[in-house]
């Protein structure tokens, strides 16, 4: 069986678990537990190890989706998941500027570990106070518009939006493979 692994990473509450649940054909294997400390103000449960989802294409090919924990501190699971990935998506919550710094840290961590095609998915762009994509990019330290990865809007609860973001990521890969 040929497997394609995509890592979904980002801040706490950015929508990683929802993203995988929305598109997975199986019940997502989730390692959520009741959130403690400040995470609890955002959501009741948080991923502590990983989320896992699957999409079977045919008898020979399958897509695996791995969601990382979104804790502010480095987590050993980040490294384990990203090293297994063929590509990844960083989800950033556009209406929580207080999380951009941590988003930058996750993004830079992944970039320091692997050299893979990736995209940035902006979630909650319809919420009050959501920042424009260009300003989020600058907050993540991406100054050069022409050299930055694609930044797209994602509704993690909408299957067509999630599928479109995956297609965008795959197109990156196909361009790299040409």
């Amino acid at each position: 069986m040929e497997a394609f692994n995509i890592a979904i990473t980002g801040n706490v509450g950015a929508g990683k678990t929802s993203f995988i649940k929305t598109i997975s054909e199986i019940e997502v294997v989730s390692t959520e537990k009741k959130a403690s400390d400040e995470v609890n103000q955002l959501k009741h449960n948080t991923t502590v190890a990983l989320d896992f989802g699957r999409l079977t294409l045919n008898a020979e090919q399958v897509l695996y989706l791995y969601g990382t924990p979104g804790q502010n501190r480095f987590d050993f699971m980040w490294e384990i998941i990203i090293e297994k990935a063929h590509a990844y998506i960083v989800l950033i919550d556009a209406h929580r500027p207080q999380d951009f710094y941590n988003g930058r840290r996750i993004f830079n961590f992944m970039q320091s570990k692997v050299n893979l095609p990736m995209i940035i998915g902006l979630t909650h762009t319809d919420c009050e106070g959501a920042w424009e994509a260009d300003d989020v990019a600058l907050a993540l330290g991406l100054k050069n518009r022409r050299r930055r990865p694609p930044i797209i809007t994602v509704n993690a609860s909408d299957s067509s939006s999630v599928a479109n973001s995956l297609i965008c990521l795959l197109e990156q890969l196909m361009m790299a493979n040409v």
Binding site: F74, K84, P97, F100, N108, D134, L138, L170, M174, N177
Partner: protein, 301 residues
């Protein structure tokens, strides 16, 4: 368009990074809250930027602030001061530049005026509570609220790059607030560079961190190597992280390398030209899998 928010959520160095990274022009209004601790900064201060560089500081409650500074210096006659005050409606170049042209001030004096403005900007780094609003200037160099041009009467005609301001502002900060200290890098963490080149002068402790920011050496190791206290290294690293020069990373298991790691933007450029997609444990991905996956997603969602 602009960005706005609370200084509790988004700190001044983070805002300045956006202005610097985006080479933005416009007005950054910083309004302290009554709970803010820096009493001398109560009210609103407007910082003006052109192409990412600081060019002026104005304050609605300190009208003609730059002229007041010039007056305080006692280097221009009263007659000329009166003349300068009357310029307001007709001046078409920055006040400092005008004074230079008229030989009223020397270049050194004008530079000193910029320094005085910058000292006021540095004090804003102490604000731990308040609001910010960055109003992008349009193509006519006007901001929108209220429709206003750059304040020539508050401009020296000199500029200072925003990264230098952030660096100096963070150095002058007497105490880091709780939100910032939560981000303190751990002794076992390493650092990586987020910039290829530096155009500002670093202090010795900052230079040590910069030199060893290759993701391979922990802060603890840097402390042993340099004899700087680990706490001082952590605090200095945090300041450099907050202004976007460095990033904290877990120390790589690989042996230290002697060359500087390429910046992340360079890595991104490299990744886009990488013709083979592979990871440490995964092999190449077949084009058949990619094509089938795209078709599957297009047809089923």
């Amino acid at each position: 368009m602009g960005i706005s928010g609370s200084l509790q959520d988004f700190s001044l160095p983070e805002i300045l990074q956006i202005i610097d990274n985006g080479s933005k022009s416009g007005r950054l209004s910083i309004t302290s809250s009554l709970k803010g601790k820096a009493l001398q900064n109560q009210g609103t201060n407007d910082l003006w930027f052109k192409n990412g560089n600081f060019v002026a500081l104005s304050n609605p409650f300190k009208y003609n602030n730059l002229l007041s500074l010039i007056k305080k210096e006692n280097i221009i006659s009263s007659k000329n001061i009166v003349k300068l005050y009357s310029l307001e409606r007709e001046i078409s170049i920055p006040l400092g530049e005008y004074c230079l042209q008229q030989s009223l001030l020397s270049v050194e004096r004008v530079n000193q005026l910029l320094e005085n403005q910058l000292k006021e900007v540095y004090s804003l780094f102490e604000l731990d509570d308040g609001w910010f609003f960055f109003d992008d200037a349009d193509s006519n160099n006007q901001v929108s609220e209220p429709k206003e041009s750059f304040p020539l009467m508050e401009m020296t005609g000199k500029k200072c790059d925003t990264l230098t301001i952030s660096l100096q502002g963070m150095r002058s900060l007497s105490k880091l607030d709780n939100r910032l200290t939560e981000q303190m890098p751990e002794p076992n963490s390493g650092l990586i560079k987020l910039e290829d080149n530096l155009n500002c002068k670093l202090l010795p402790i900052e230079a040590c961190l910069w030199d060893d920011a290759n993701g391979k050496m922990s802060l603890k190791k840097i402390a042993q190597k340099t004899l700087f206290e680990i706490q001082d290294l952590q605090t200095t690293a945090l300041r450099l992280i907050l202004i976007g020069l460095l990033e904290e990373v877990p120390v790589s298991r690989e042996e230290p390398q002697t060359y500087a790691a390429p910046s992340l933007e360079r890595k991104l450029a490299l990744s886009s030209t990488n013709s083979m997609v592979k990871t440490k444990s995964q092999g190449k991905v077949s084009n058949s899998l990619l094509g089938n996956l795209v078709d599957f997603l297009r047809n089923n969602f």
